[in-house]
Amino acid sequence: MPQRVAIVGTGQTDHKSHRPDVNQREMINEAVVRALEDCEMTIRDIDAIIIGNMDHFESINYVDTWSVEGSGGVMKPIMKITTGGTTGASVAIAAYYHVASGLFDKVLAIGWEKNSESDTTAAIVTCSDPVWDRFSYSGAIPSLASEASAYMEQYGATQHDAARVAVRDRKNAMNNPHAHLRKPVTIEDVMASPMLAYPVKLGDVCPRTDGACAVVLAADGIAQKVTPRPAWFVASAVRHTYTWFGDSTDYDQGLVSLKNASREAYQKAGIRNPADELDVAELYLPYTYAGLKYIEALDFCAPGHGPRFVADGHTEIDGKIPVNPSGGVISTNCIGATALLRVAEAAIQIMGKGGKRQVHGANLALATGFGGCFWSDVVLLCGDRP
């Protein structure tokens, strides 16, 4: 029987396009110090550390060992987890496994990225098969643009429908003091932004951000002593598909990895009607069209109903299932930290520490990670000890 596990503290940097004032280790340290402060722990209380970022992004091979000065990993067990865009969620889930196993009671999870120090697209290109896929289609935009146009063709969704997702997330970011892009946009702004690859425009996609996030996990018995309202892990699920784009992506089936992962998590948690039962969702939506399509995979609404569901306001902060009160990925994208920020923000909601972005009475929260060639992580957190 695994130990029950809760998130008891979170910390994040104030995210920006460039952080010339700190090197990578120092930026990691800012998030760690804030997470420890949040749960009134010191680094001496931490038994083990899981850290992750994107391969090839900063040209640092052994992030786990190289960053110990900043992470607090000096003479502690520390390991690196890197799974592309899902890295942050995988870091959280690996930390969860560590505590659940009973071998560790207090574990620190860290995700970070300094996008300003390299060429994000050149680095992302290395995710795809060097012989068959790398020459053209790889990088973030082409596969997402193909996914978006397939979705539009299948269900008649429009560029306007997608723009509403950016409007929502960028409006929410105004309430998050840590968010990178804190300037609201209109549907007209998104429509007028430069076309990158049809139908994806600059206003539809996430930025490149420098930032870090740290989360402290603690075992049952310790968590309740550390914080008045821990955010308990109810379920986590991970799904990876092929990395060859042609095998991984029958776009007409929806985001299969997310559908599959969320069904497992819902089943573990006994959730039948996610949109009614979940109080808040922090979703890894790297571009606006994901905000239509991926909520269908999550069963918030039926396939093809995403545009209507969003337009009707159900995903607004006062709607049926508030999505991304933090402003989401479209407002902040320090990639190795991005999915951990989803988990941290979900925990913040349950702990009631959301300030202006707090969803009233949030008790059951969903966080997702998305990455690479359409793979998914899912984490469910709850204010009630499972």
Binding site: R19, N23, E26, H56, E69, M75, S116, S118
Partner: protein
């Protein structure tokens, strides 16, 4: 059994990606690089909890996890704590062989800094005193190799 290479040409695929990296040094490290460029002096930071003096300076002490904001000026002289003499040449090496990579603990510092010893290699041993020789002011750019080499004295 036929050999497969007699039947099909073994293909390879050359990568063409060169990712350009630019690392921010941060305010703490930048002060050190500015000091060697502009004053030809060394700066370190001291941990208020364990008294460790870090050269190059760190923003926090890894062992104590304490923020470091006490700056200390460090001598140009120190002792060699470990070294290896390089005999082979390689394009990535900063100078032509023979030379030594050495860990040097400057007077006043608690940790060693990695640098080069290029002369008098016959006299090189652990514990020997060395002194920093800087490049001409006009040649210094704010790089660790603004220190041209350490000289055995």
């Amino acid at each position: 059994m036929p050999n497969w290479v007699d039947e099909v040409e073994p293909m390879t695929f050359k990568g063409q990606i060169a990712v350009p990296y630019t690392w921010w040094v941060g305010d703490t490290g930048s002060r050190f690089l500015e000091a060697i460029r502009d004053q030809a002096t060394f700066l370190g930071t001291r941990c208020p909890d364990c008294d460790t003096v870090y050269v190059p300076p760190r923003k926090n002490c890894g062992r104590c996890f304490t923020a470091l904001d006490q700056w200390v000026e460090i001598a140009r002289r120190g002792v060699v704590t470990a070294f290896t003499i390089v005999r082979a040449n390689h394009p990535l090496q900063p100078v032509k062989s023979p030379f030594a990579y050495a860990l040097i603990r400057l007077d006043g510092a608690s940790v060693s800094i990695l640098h080069l010893i290029t002369k008098d290699l016959a006299r090189l041993s652990i514990g020997v005193t060395v002194e920093a020789h800087f490049k001409e002011a006009s040649q210094r750019t704010g790089h660790i190799l603004d220190i041209d080499h350490f000289q055995i004295i």
